[in-house]
């Protein structure tokens, strides 16, 4: 009985690991740093995490997880509430329809895929927030943020791959 309970708890924890690890990286991305360049242009960790998990373990990172994840990002951020949720839902739709082109392909292909989908996602969010404020937000900041996000993807995916390979059991 006790073993069953332990197994259930471990299984639940493992199923929640994609969301928990993504939340950890998200919170970490808001920690103040002493490097001025990094503070102004940080990688958009949320998009990277959603992309990784939807490609590798869509069974553990479903629509509701994405919604919750976007909401947490909206709470920490001062940008209009709902804009992060919207961006992540856009990414969800893109990945679920296009994952066949990137899934189970060499890492470079997945990286290119991320670069393409992150651009569309960030532009969608930019458009939504620009409409919200009735003025165009600075594209230069968005461009640098996008470049940093794409450049940081290998590192983020390396961390998440470690979680996936070492801490999450395969469904057999």
């Amino acid at each position: 009985m006790s073993e069953d309970l332990d197994e259930n708890i471990t299984s639940l924890f493992q199923r929640m690991l994609p969301l928990l690890s993504s939340l950890f990286l998200l919170l970490l991305s808001y920690v103040p740093l002493d490097f001025s360049l990094l503070n102004n242009i940080r990688p958009v960790v949320g998009i990277s995490c959603v992309y990784f998990w939807l490609l590798h373990r869509p069974d553990l990172f479903n629509l509701w997880s994405i919604y919750f994840y976007g909401m947490v990002d909206d709470i920490i951020s001062a940008s209009p509430f709902g804009s992060n949720i919207l961006a992540m839902l856009v990414l969800y739709v893109l990945i679920t329809n296009l994952s066949r082109f990137f899934n189970a392909k060499p890492f470079v292909v997945m990286w290119y895929g991320f670069a393409a989908l992150a651009l569309v996602t960030m532009l969608c969010r930019w458009l939504a927030v620009s409409v919200y404020y009735s003025q165009f937000l600075p594209l230069s900041m968005l461009f640098f943020s996008y470049m940093v996000t794409v450049a940081a993807y290998p590192l983020i995916s390396l961390l998440l791959a470690f979680v996936q390979n070492n801490l999450i059991a395969d469904d057999d």
């Binding site: 103040p32 002493d34 976007g70 909206d74 920490i76 709902g82 919207l86 919200y132 404020y133």
Partner: protein, 288 residues
């Protein structure tokens, strides 16, 4: 057997439909949240404040190890600088001592003249020092979350660094406050050129250098001019340093803030006893 298979097909169809339906609902709810947020209702503000209070401690925990790593790096980087800094600080201290003597004599002179004019001195300000636990500065917003503990903080209070104004308190939770930086798109501060006293509004646009707007067309403003708060609207007192003019073009004037907004570890939240256009009865952002 055949019946069972058709039931399976039927169920998978329903599941697919439900998934699509859920997606549409979630999209609509995201739009609805943005729309409600736009109307600036108290409910959204209060909910968001409570949620920030719940999540902020988690970031707060991460700040300590991150700071430690940064401190070790800084220690080795700064070793080289220590000797140079020492010489520079001694010189600076000598100059400051001279200035201090001058300041003392001016203070006495000012008091005497104020007494003569029957001038009513403004209320003394109160401040607390708050630790920054989260920062963001991208194309979408420029803000920070600071740990204020149970100190009395009010919405609209001025956030200062050692060099000048960095922003204002936007929301106040139980132990954390959200500060909107002067570079944020929602920030509009009445300012003036220190030398010429020309007034305008410092308007953030989510870039690192806010714009100076609503100034006369023939205004005499040049690169390097100091910009300070004007005190109009009664939220910020007059004379607080903000930045200096970085560029003057035909269509816009850009201001470079004195403070490095992206490198703030601690900030001062000052209560000047001014409520201005924010109003005294604003319940959304007050903690007794």
């Amino acid at each position: 057997m055949k019946r069972r298979r058709s039931l399976y097909v039927h169920l998978s169809h329903i599941r697919l439909l439900a998934k699509k339906f859920a997606l549409v609902i979630l999209f609509l709810s995201a739009f609805a949240l943005m729309l409600v947020n736009k109307t600036d209702t108290v409910i959204i503000e209060k909910t968001s404040t409570v949620a920030t209070d719940v999540i902020s401690p988690a970031i707060d925990v991460l700040v300590i190890p991150a700071k430690m790593i940064a401190k070790v790096y800084d220690y080795f980087r700064d070793l080289k600088q220590i000797h140079k800094d020492n010489v520079r600080l001694r010189e600076e201290n000598r100059k400051l001592n001279i200035l201090y003597d001058r300041f003392k004599s001016l203070e006495i002179e000012n008091k005497l003249l104020s007494d003569l004019l029957n001038y009513v001195t403004p209320e003394e300000s109160e401040f607390i020092t708050a630790r920054v636990i989260a920062e963001e500065g991208d194309a979408f917003s420029h803000s920070m979350i600071a740990y204020t503990g149970d100190a009395p903080v009010k919405k609209g209070q001025v956030a200062l660094s050692d060099k000048g104004v960095v922003g204002r308190v936007e929301r106040v939770g139980n132990a954390y406050a959200r500060i909107i930086l002067i570079t944020d798109i929602n920030s509009k501060i009445p300012v003036m050129a220190e030398k010429t006293r020309i007034r305008g509004i410092l308007s953030g646009d989510n870039t690192t250098m806010p714009r100076l707007i609503f100034i006369p067309l023939d205004a005499d403003i040049n690169v390097g001019d100091r910009i300070v708060t004007s005190g109009v609207a009664g939220v910020f007192p007059a004379g607080l340093p903000i930045g200096k003019v970085a560029s003057v073009n035909k269509n816009e004037i850009r201001i470079k803030p004195f403070s490095s907004l992206e490198q703030l570890e601690y900030i001062k939240l000052v209560n000047y006893g001014l409520s201005g256009i924010l109003g005294e009865d604003d319940e959304t952002g007050q903690r007794p």
